[in-house]
Structure formats: C-alpha cells, structure tokens
C-alpha cells in the first residue's frame, strides 16, 4: 500500500459506520433513518425515474433514489438484486446492496469500488497537494512488526533538503516505536497529519545499515511533482530514456511536454516510464502520453479509449447528457494549467517509438492502466509493443461521476473503457507474463515480474525494476527472482495483520477512524 501523505483513505467497509451521521439530512422531522414499517410501494423490477426522488431527504425516498439511480447508471445494473427499500433500515446499508455480487475469475469481488462520503467532505475541492511532509512512503507491513519505508521525496522540500532518501525506514515517530508499538493513534496521527504546521520527530534507519538519523519535519501543502528524474541512460545498443511519472494531474502536462522535448534531443531508442506509484488522473493526459510515446504513425486515427456506459446508454453519457465520443490518441497540448507557458493546441513532441517499457506495481492504477491498454490496442500490423516490468497493476478500468443526494456523495461504477481492439476486461489488472500468484488472474503482458527495490533510488540503473528493463531489452530474458514475493512483484510478502494494530490513513472522520484500524490488511500491501 503506497501512501502519499496527502491522501485520505476510504474503504467500503467504513460506509456502514457513516450511516448515523449521514442520515441526518434536510427535513428536521426527527428522521432516524427507519422506514417505520410503512409500505414502500416497491414493485420488483419496476423503477420510477430517479428524478422523482432526488432531494427528497427522508430515508425511504433516499433509498428509492439510490435504487432508481443505480438502475439507470450502474454499469452492471442487471446484476443488482432488487430489494425492497423498506427491508433495509439504513440508507447507506441499502446503498451497499446496490452493486453486483458477481466474482472475478479468481474469486475476488467484481466491484471493489462502491463508496459514500459526506458531501461537505467531498466538496472541499482544492488546489495544491494537500498536507504532507514532503516525502512519500509505503506501508510494507502495517501491523507489527511494521515496516514503513520512504518511497521517494519531493524535490525542494525540507525533507529533501534534510537528505531524506528512498529506502530509509521510519522506525519511530515522536519517540513512539513504529515497528512494535500498540499506540496506533500516535502512529497514525504522525504519519497522516490533517493540518499544516504539525511538527513530527522522525527516526529513520538508513539503507543497509543500523545507523539511525533523527529529523524533525513540519507539514505544509508542498506541491507534488508528477514528473521526476528525466534522464538518458547510455547503452551499447543506444540511448534509453527514463522518467518517473507519478500522477496524471494538471502540472504533469507541462512537465511531460518538457521531458519529451528533452528526450527528443537525446537520440532515444527506447523509453522506460516508471509508473509504479502512478494511481491515475486525467484520461486525456494518458491519451497525450500515448501519442508522445508512439507517435503519429502508430496512433493516427486510432481510439485510445472508448468509454462504455451500461447498455441503456450506448450513445449518450447519462450523466452529462453529451454524446459519447471515444478518446483518440491526443497530439496537442490541452492546457490543464491555463498559464503553463505552452498554448492550447500546440503540437506535442513524440519519440515515435516501437515499444515502451512500463514499470508497475499495485499502485499503477486507472488512467495509468488505460495507457497500457490503449497502447496495447494499436493494431499488430503497426508492430508496437508494451513491456511490463514490476508487479501486477491494480485492476481498475472503471470510473464514476460522484453524485450528491441529501448531503451524501455516492460513487457507483458507471463506466469502463476499451481500447482500439475492443479490449478492456482487466479488472484484475495487468501483470508481466511470468507473474505467479494463484490468487489473481491478471491479463498477461510481455515482461518480467520484479519486486520494488528500496535499496536503490528511482532512476538508478541498478534499481531492480529498471535493471530488469535494461536487461530484458538487451537479452530478452527476465532476471531470476530471488524470492517467491519477487515473482509476484511484491516488495514484501505481508503476513496476516494483528487486528487492531494495523496503521493506516484515518483522516476522513472519527467514525471511519474506528473502522480503519480494525479493517484487515489488503492481501497485497505494496
């Protein structure tokens, strides 16, 4: 599990805990969320328009709205078991039933992304990165004996100025033992701060030694750099470009534009894009990146991703009311940041490559997976290849439009995507073809399973994933994994958590915090 220190963690299991607070919306009628045994007028399989119930903030109408809205827009609406809204007391509990109960090929939940959040929390849209210490970390083991490791620092922050490095292990915060302490609240409060100006004493253990270093850092809204470590690696068979791409966010457009222009001048014959910590963002930016990698010859006129809603909406987006148009590969600057210094419509640079190496992990998600899928959709005749090095990706081809009703914002899967070849079923992610884990059935991609290597800096050609990419490029062979975890692409194989002692991001609200520490660890932690 990778945590950027700005994130707020939501888990489906937490939703029930919110019911009591979320039900108190609107009317002031003493509504306790119960239908009081009144008849709901429910007729199985018959759905009134959701607009009939929108904004009617009593429990029955809220549930009727959810039922109709789900029937109208949920991607797998025909897999929902239609239940009487009066048969389930809580609104959020009822929402929890409005999803498919189908399983994937490996037996996992088909829909892992079903959320409700108080609207006032969700509507706090913001500029900047949120609150952080200027470095990012991974919880390799969140329960004792915990292992929390710096994944990378943000340039220009006090953390980087103090020399905090990828691979340093956080062994204590404010004097509390990170590895074995039972004081979960103290650990969570230090790792996941909610406000600026929070001062924390970190004790780090340095890479490959028992030396420790104490550094005091203060939270701020440090800007996250989405593109880092742009470099050229000289090899006997030509120059290889490398860039670390962390987020499809608005500053990334200009930074990608500059990075590709820089590499254009470096006679690049291959490219490694390090997306192991890229959880996605704007789909259009992924379509731009696809063009900058593969160029006009490979992408001209091709669909990058076709957005697909449920079969009631084959042509019109049911949320925006606009015609559904496929995203083509995009060859021009869009201006995510209005005054970035590059004009909208400017032609993007392209390396016109025949293949790309992508470094991946379970935090390679959503728009990042769309890039992999979009490039894999290029017709075979054009000869483009995606080589995946690292771990299995997260498996989230889906998306949603957050929708408010009665002070709650709901997230239900509404769309998925397909590439030019009509491929889009990667709900268990993509994985290098030698990935071995019977618990998952990812889509195999040419490449090598390699664990995240915290003993080397990102962009260092000795770092295991990058080294494997360079080696595979030279020989066509994958490195022999030293551990079973390596063959799964895991940094550490997690052990079962000790209930109640797992740490995690708990900044959403108190009701969630209580559930958060009790939530079992995900099977895959990195």
């Amino acid at each position: 599990m990778d945590f950027i220190m700005t994130t707020q963690l939501i888990k489906p299991l937490l939703i029930s805990a919110l019911s009591a607070s979320l039900l108190a919306c609107g009317g002031g009628s003493g509504n306790d969320g119960s239908d009081g045994g009144t008849s709901s007028g429910w007729t199985p399989g018959v759905f009134a328009s959701s607009s009939q119930f929108k904004g009617q903030c009593n429990a029955l109408d809220e549930k009727n709205w959810l039922r109709s809205w789900s029937n109208e827009t949920y991607l797998w609406y025909d897999e929902i078991t239609d239940r009487d809204p009066a048969s389930i007391v809580g609104v959020i509990d009822y929402f929890h039933t409005l999803k498919t109960e189908e399983k994937t090929a490996s037996g996992a939940e088909k829909d892992k992304y079903h959320y409700a959040i108080p609207t006032d929390e969700w509507q706090q849209q913001q500029s900047g990165a949120g609150i952080n210490y200027g470095f990012n970390f991974k919880l390799l083991r969140s329960a004792p004996p915990r292992e929390v490791v710096v994944s990378y620092t943000e340039p220009g922050t006090p953390a980087s100025a103090a020399g905090v490095r990828r691979g340093w292990e956080i062994v204590a915060v404010n004097g509390v033992d990170m590895i074995n302490s039972n004081d979960v609240d103290a650990l969570n409060n230090a790792l996941f701060p909610s406000s600026k100006g929070v001062q924390t004493d970190f004790t780090f253990k340095l890479i490959g030694s028992n030396e420790e270093r104490n550094i005091t850092l203060t939270t701020s809204d440090f800007v996250r750099d989405p593109v880092m470590n742009v470099s050229t690696i000289a090899t006997n068979t030509g120059n290889v470009g490398y860039l670390q791409f962390n987020s499809h966010n608005d500053p990334a457009e200009r930074q990608l534009y500059d990075a590709f222009n820089q590499m254009l001048g470096s006679n690049i014959s291959d490219l490694v894009i390090d997306m192991r910590y890229n959880g996605g963002g704007y789909l259009a930016m992924a379509a731009q990146l696809g063009y900058m990698v593969a160029g006009a010859y490979n992408t001209d006129g091709l669909v990058f991703e076709k957005t697909i809603f449920n079969d009631k909406h084959p042509t019109i987006n049911p949320v925006t009311g606009q015609e559904i148009k496929p995203y083509l590969f995009i060859d021009e600057y869009l201006g995510f940041e209005p005054d970035s210094g590059v004009s909208e419509g400017t032609k993007l640079p392209s390396l016109n490559l025949e293949r790309v190496f992508i470094l991946s992990s379970s935090n390679t998600c959503s728009a990042s997976e769309a890039l992999i899928n979009g490039l894999r959709g290029i017709p075979l005749a054009r000869g483009f290849e995606v080589v995946l090095i690292g771990g299995k990706t997260c498996g989230k081809p889906y998306g949603f439009y957050p929708t408010d009703n009665c002070d709650t914002t709901f997230f239900t899967i509404q769309f998925t995507g397909e590439n030019h070849a009509g491929e889009g079923e990667y709900g268990e992610g993509f994985a290098p073809e030698n990935f071995t884990d019977p618990e998952f059935s990812p889509v195999p991609v040419t490449g090598c399973a390699v664990a995240d290597d915290f003993t080397h800096q990102l962009g260092d050609k000795s770092e295991a994933m990058l080294a494997a990419a360079l080696s595979y490029r030279a020989t066509g062979l994958c490195p022999t994994p030293s551990t079973a975890a390596g063959l799964k692409g895991y940094a550490v194989q997690s052990s079962a958590s000790e209930m109640g002692l797992s740490i995690g991001d708990n900044r959403v609200q108190t009701q969630m915090q209580n559930n958060r520490v009790l939530t079992p660890l995900p099977k895959e932690l990195n």
Binding site: L9, E121, Q124, E344, C365, S366, P397
Partner: protein, 123 residues
C-alpha cells in the same frame, strides 16, 4: 493565447448579460493579474460561488505567484491507497485572475463565466 482571447470575449458577454448593469467589461483591457496581498478566504468564497458549491480549499498563496488556479478532486484514496478518482473524463475546474487596471475579475474557464471580484486587490 487564441483561446484566451476567445474566453475573454465570451466572458465579457456573459458578464454584460448576467450582471444586468449598464457597464460592460472591455475584453481588450483584461489581462492576467496577481493579488497585492494574500486573500485565501476571499478567493475561496468567489470560487465556491462560481461552482455553486459549499466549500473550496485554496492555497494561502493563491494568485500571489501566478494568475491561474486549478482545482482537483479531493485526495481520497481507496483501500489500496490509490486515488478514488483515478480515471477522470472531464477537464479540471480552471480559473484565471484578471484585471482591467481598476477592478479584479475571476474567470471560470470551464464555463466562460466572469465574476467581478471587488473584495480582491490586483496588480
């Protein structure tokens, strides 16, 4: 720049139509602006008004170093630590601070809406 001028023209028309007053903004005089002093709360209020939403967070130094503001989805993540909104189809909400030399204006680029910002001081 071509799009910026178009935005400005449309925004001026929008302002003239929506304000119902006799004066209009001369789009030729509008130019990107910076604030003369930090105005975090005032900007947040104006942005929330433009988006018809309950609340918006902006940085303390909003419009102090650059004339643009881009809002992103809140940084909620799922159980794996990945962004909830990892696949966004729409462009982010984008704003520009403009001035005609006398008054400040907040332009919402997505909607072409131009809001007078009398509580702000621009340069």
């Amino acid at each position: 720049m071509r799009k910026f001028l178009l935005h400005s023209l449309l925004a001026a028309l929008t302002l003239a139509t929506s304000s119902g007053c006799n004066s209009t903004v001369n789009q030729d005089e509008l130019r990107p602006a910076l604030l003369t002093e930090p105005s975090q709360q005032e900007v947040a209020t104006l942005v929330a008004q433009a988006l018809n939403t309950q609340g918006v967070k902006v940085r303390e130094d909003v419009f102090m170093q650059k004339s643009s503001l881009v809002l992103e989805s809140p940084p909620f993540t799922d159980a794996q630590g990945n962004p909830l909104m990892g696949k966004q189809l729409e462009m982010p909400q984008r704003f520009m601070l403009l001035t005609d030399g006398q008054l400040c204006y907040l332009q919402h680029l997505n909607s072409e809406q131009l809001l007078p910002a009398p509580t702000l001081s621009c340069r």
